[in-house]
């Protein structure tokens, strides 16, 4: 780790000014991802701008439109256990609690969670090529060991996966990300926040340089009736998702009037298929229809060898999770499938 400077921002504007002051500055929130990347010599900021003490980022408050605003600095654990989140947005609560470990969730912030980087082995090893870390150097994952890698939205350049659980729920809930930057404040719909790798795999998202995430807004509709988060991984206790699914429904008897299905662990961003969701709307909530929807979601899915199983697994997971969303009480802690 290189020597570095350290400053505490006193408010949002100050944070944006401080971070723009030189090239190699970086915000630090919980540090659970940044410090790891630093120790691995993947990033080496010259100056840290600490945003942990900013009151403006540390609240969860109800919005006039009936929605809920989650401060970017609020810890993942505090968000998951917040009474309004638990009651009105239980999908989000479940998804957060399926991620990482209790200790990490106690440190990790909502803003940091959106910006965590891929867990691709090759990205994490500065001694080997990686187009995300070192554009143009190549991608050893494609012909290497790619069990954890993407099956949807991949590019020639990159098959990395965005690893967050929380963001899969946020995608399903149509959250909005509020940011402040040198050019002022703006709001980014969640589906436009993260991006596919294309030929710029170095960019994970559409946040502009020196922009600070201030909060995440949840719309009024929380889907507290029918929801489920399912996470499949190699170790139950904690591991990144090989496939995860967030599902919510609004039901009219047994007819679906609103469906949301987002996948994690399969692409460079939380994956939603509006085609599949539209297909389900107006249909009976049945295993058969869920299977057809799964096929639509996975249209064009492509494996790279070790991750071929994800295509089959994702289909089964979508179906199971849709069934679980009909009976949300069947979910087990840690988002394991129900008995």
């Amino acid at each position: 780790m290189n020597n570095f400077g350290y400053k505490q921002a006193s408010n949002i504007d100050d944070a944006v000014t401080l971070v723009a002051a030189s090239e190699k500055t970086s915000f630090i929130a919980g540090g659970t991802n940044l410090i790891d990347l630093w120790k691995y010599n993947i990033t080496n900021p010259a100056e840290l701008i600490d945003i942990n003490h900013l009151n403006e980022l540390s609240n969860i408050e109800q919005l006039e439109n009936g929605g809920l605003r989650l401060g970017a600095g609020v810890k993942n654990a505090d968000t998951a256990y917040h009474p309004i989140v638990e009651q009105k947005y239980p999908l989000l609560s479940k998804a957060i609690l399926a991620g990482a470990s209790a200790q990490i969730r106690n440190m990790a912030t909502n803003g940091g969670n959106l910006l965590q980087r891929t867990r691709c082995y090759y990205f994490y090893d500065p001694e080997v090529p990686c187009n995300k870390r070192n554009p143009g150097s190549g991608c050893p994952a494609k012909d290497g060991y790619n069990r954890m890698h993407a099956i949807l939205g991949t590019s020639e350049q990159c098959i990395a996966v965005f690893p967050s659980d929380m963001c899969v729920a946020l995608a399903a809930l149509d959250a909005v990300v509020n940011v402040s930057g040198p050019e002022g404040a703006r709001s980014i719909p969640f589906k436009e926040f993260h991006r596919l790798p294309g030929d710029r795999p170095d960019l994970d998202n559409n946040l502009k340089k020196n922009e600070l995430i201030t909060s995440i807004d949840l719309p009024e509709k929380g889907f507290e009736g029918n929801y489920s988060y399912l996470k499949l991984r190699d170790r139950h206790s904690y591991a990144f998702a090989l496939v995860s699914v967030a599902t919510t429904f609004t039901l009219d008897g047994s007819i679906i009037s609103d469906a949301r299905i987002a996948l994690g662990g399969v692409a460079h961003q939380p994956w939603r298929s509006f085609e599949a969701e539209q297909f389900l709307e107006g249909k009976t909530a049945s295993e058969e229809n869920f299977a057809l929807a799964a096929d639509l979601i996975l249209k064009g899915a492509k494996g790279f060898g070790d991750n071929d199983f994800k295509i089959k697994l994702a289909k089964k997971a979508i179906i199971r999770n849709c069934l679980m969303a009909l009976r949300p009480e069947t979910q087990l802690p840690g988002a394991q499938p129900a008995a």
Binding site: G144, H236, L313, I319
Partner: protein, 746 residues
């Protein structure tokens, strides 16, 4: 149970409080004046040569003292022999910073020494290396054509090649009524103790060092350091009072020891070198292996042919082997056998013993093959083991000194509820889960090494014992204290077992589940000699009632020497020492295996594991919901610490079956999941209900205390029991470890 005895009682580990309160100091925690910190630079190249090293960038960083590499290292011993350690396999031992050649990815190629750790680590990123890269081979699967017999050497004594064939295997197998042939693939595993490898070297003056090291063998590392650096043995002291797990990785000196000592001698300063987690994947490991098994039986399930062929990775410089191929014949009689074991040299570091080396790999394959055979025969898997049960060792035709495996089978089956198993695969369900029951047998060696113990009674009437062994977290301190306390009729508090120090009398490294029997026997022998001396001294006191009294006529209890005929007549040990002018009475004695007597016997511990799994019908997700392991390991000195050993190894079994694997990218020639986020080991939330039974096993033959060791036997049966339970749940047999759930997707 004799109430005054401590052996057999579940005493909590004596150093437990020090450990949980953080007071126990590990190798990286010793302070020394003006301590320097070394950070190791590892090769990013798998094979080739270092052409140039530019250290100017690193040296320019304030706080950097020195960068040592093969170019500027001090002069060192030259001959291989001087680098070998007690556990070195045949071949050419790896010599760190020896020359420009790179033999494997992650090889240490430089040491940065700085005023603090972070400066050293940062400076390591500022060194510019130029390499000439060569083609390399790191794939076992792609190099099976290179398989050959392992070279023989010193280590071959403990790890013999498989015995020659018996009968006519090919003929018997070809014509057998019932047979199974299967090929098993095992991945690489790294030991990954939680304590990182670390050395703190205190420079005590020219040629004199005190070294705090993470090791399983203080004397092994003392000799290694003294030989390489040309120091006198007595001037090199290696201490390892606490060891945060090692599992075999500490059986050989690791490179941080070498580099730390080299820097300390060169700079004449106190130096510490700590590896980071990624570097914990840069040395020894359990080798990946491919095993082909061919078992045949008659229609009644009696085995007629056992064939086991093993190909396992080794490095290109040492021939490491773990005895794998011949275990089946130590359990099951069969007239025709064929066992073969070969190594495949690759461009990796030399593999090394890792908890139940060979045994855990072999028994997985053997017991899965037995399971498969049982389904073919339509005989209950447990019944098949009982049909082929043998009280003697079929491979050597010698009786076991003791073998309570039958009790293990029956007691564990009963506790588990094996009778509730419905024989058909995929026939038991719980909601949307398939439920499976599986069982397997375990066997492991009962080793004993020579050991010396110094025992003395001090002026306060306490017993002090000295032996160089470590306590790698197994409870060694506690069980040695118990053994000694009983021998002299003292309480636990009156015994002070001193260990973890190369200055103390000899102990081999702590491996092979051997230390309780090794040091324990030496304690018994030393205690006997000490009792004799105490009695003699007591008899010298004027008008002593112990004058000319024979050993058989006295006993030691409650800190006293008493007459059997009249226990009211006694003298305290304290008073005996007082009569000796306060000078301790001491003795040093050797304990060793009774080779001649034991040559007529076979020595082993046994176990039986029963496991229940749940497998999601559609998603394949596996949970080990419960397991019972029964162990026969002779006398259990401390049921609590012994149970902890078995529980820990059952957890390891789950890990080996379902989680643990170091992934080699064979295009890059390196391991890629080198952190504990991606190298999965189970934590509490992954573990169901575990139950341990110790079967009664009295062994008067094996050694003076009747112990056989419990460090490894709890692991060997578990992976196969889990695999077999998965087969029973799903009807799918997965011939590799670890088993990933995606192979079980419905």
């Amino acid at each position: 149970m004799d109430l005054n005895k401590t052996v057999g009682k579940p005493i909590s580990r004596l150093e437990g409080k020090l450990k949980v309160t953080g007071a126990a100091k590990y190798a990286a925690e010793y302070q020394a004046d003006n301590l320097l910190h070394g950070y190791v630079v590892n090769s990013p190249v798998t094979k080739g040569k270092i052409i140039n090293i530019d250290i100017s960038g690193a040296m320019a960083i304030p706080g950097v003292i020195q960068v040592l590499s093969h170019e500027n290292r001090p002069k060192l011993a030259w001959f291989d022999l001087q680098y070998t350690d007690m556990d070195a396999p045949p071949g050419t031992v790896f010599k760190p910073l020896h020359d420009e050649n790179i033999l494997y990815n992650g090889q240490p190629i430089a040491l940065v020494v700085a005023e603090d750790f972070e400066t050293a680590r940062y400076a390591s990123t500022q060194i510019r290396f130029e390499f000439e890269e060569k083609n390399f081979q790191t794939s076992l699967d792609q190099n099976i054509g290179e398989a050959r017999a392992a070279k023989k050497g010193f280590a071959t004594a403990l790890k013999p090649p498989p015995p020659p064939p018996t009968g006519d295997f090919d003929e018997a197998f070809a014509n057998a009524a019932v047979k199974v042939e299967a090929e098993f693939h095992h991945g690489t595993e790294h030991h990954n103790p939680i304590e990182l490898f670390a050395t703190t070297t205190v420079y005590e003056g020219p040629g004199k060092l005190t070294i705090y090291d993470k090791t399983q063998g203080t004397i092994n590392n003392q000799l290694y350091v003294a030989n390489i650096f040309g120091l006198r043995y007595k001037n090199v002291r290696v201490l390892a009072p606490f060891v945060g797990g090692a599992f075999g990785s500490g059986l050989r000196p690791q490179y941080q020891l070498f580099l730390c000592v080299m820097a300390a001698l060169h700079l004449e300063r106190n130096v510490r070198v700590v590896l980071d987690r990624k570097q914990m994947f840069s040395f020894s490991h359990r080798p990946p292996a491919i095993q082909t098994l061919r078992f045949a039986s008659d229609i009644n399930g009696r085995l007629t042919a056992l064939g086991h062929r093993v190909l396992a990775e080794t490095s290109n410089f040492e021939d490491y082997t773990e005895p794998t191929a011949s275990w089946s014949h130590r359990l099951y009689p069969a007239p025709n056998t064929l066992f073969e074991q070969k190594v495949v040299p690759l461009d990796v570091y030399t593999p090394m013993d890792m908890r139940a080396p060979g045994g855990s790999t072999a028994l997985h394959a053997i017991e899965c093959t037995m399971d498969e055979l049982s389904y073919k025969l339509k005989i209950d898997p447990l019944e098949l083991r009982l049909i082929n049960y043998s009280d003697m060792d079929p491979s050597s035709k010698k009786p076991y000194t003791s073998k309570a495996l039958r009790a293990c089978y029956l007691e564990a089956a009963e506790r588990f509820g094996w009778d509730k198993r419905s024989p058909e695969p995929a026939s038991m369900t719980r909601g949307n889960k398939l439920v499976g029951y599986g069982m397997a047998t375990g066997i492991w060696d009962a080793f004993q090494f020579p050991a010396r113990v110094e025992a003395m009674i001090t002026s306060d009437g306490k017993l002090v014992l000295n032996n160089a062994t470590t306590d790698i977290g197994t409870g060694t301190l506690t069980v040695m204290t118990q053994i000694a306390a009983d021998e002299l009729g003292l309480s636990i508090e009156e015994v002070d077992f001193q260990y973890g120090d190369s200055k103390k009398p000899f102990s081999m490294f702590q491996g092979g589940s051997a230390i309780t029997s090794s040091t324990g026997v030496a304690i018994v022998i030393a205690a006997k000699a000490l009792r004799k001396k105490l009695l003699k001294k007591a008899g010298e006191i004027p008008h002593s009632p112990f004058h000319k009294i024979a050993e058989e006529e006295v006993f030691f209890a409650a800190g006293q020497l008493c007459l059997k005929s009249d226990p009211g007549i006694f003298i305290t040990l304290k008073d005996i020492i007082a009569f000796n002018n306060g000078r301790p009475i001491k003795t040093t004695n050797m304990g060793k295996p009774h080779m001649l007597k034991l040559r007529k016997y076979s020595l082993a511990t046994h176990s039986a594991s029963f496991v229940e799994v749940e497998v999601d019908k559609d998603l394949g997700v596996v949970t080990v919901t419960r397991a019972v392991t029964a162990v026969a390991a002779g006398k259990i000195i401390n049921p609590k610490t012994a149970k902890s050993q078995i529980l820990g190894s059952m957890v390891w079994g789950i890990s080996k079956a379902l989680h643990e694997e170091t992934i080699m990218d064979t295009n890059l020639g390196k391991y890629i999941n080198t952190n504990l986020g991606e190298y999965h080991i189970p934590v509490h939330a992954d573990i169901g209900e575990l139950d341990v039974i110790f079967a009664e096993e009295q062994d008067e033959l094996i050694n003076e205390i009747g112990t056989k060791g419990v460090g490894e036997i709890g692991l060997v049966g578990m992976p196969a029991a889990i695999s077999n339970a998965i087969f029973h749940a799903t009807g799918k047999r997965i011939y590799k470890l670890p088993i990933h759930f995606d192979e079980l997707i419905g």
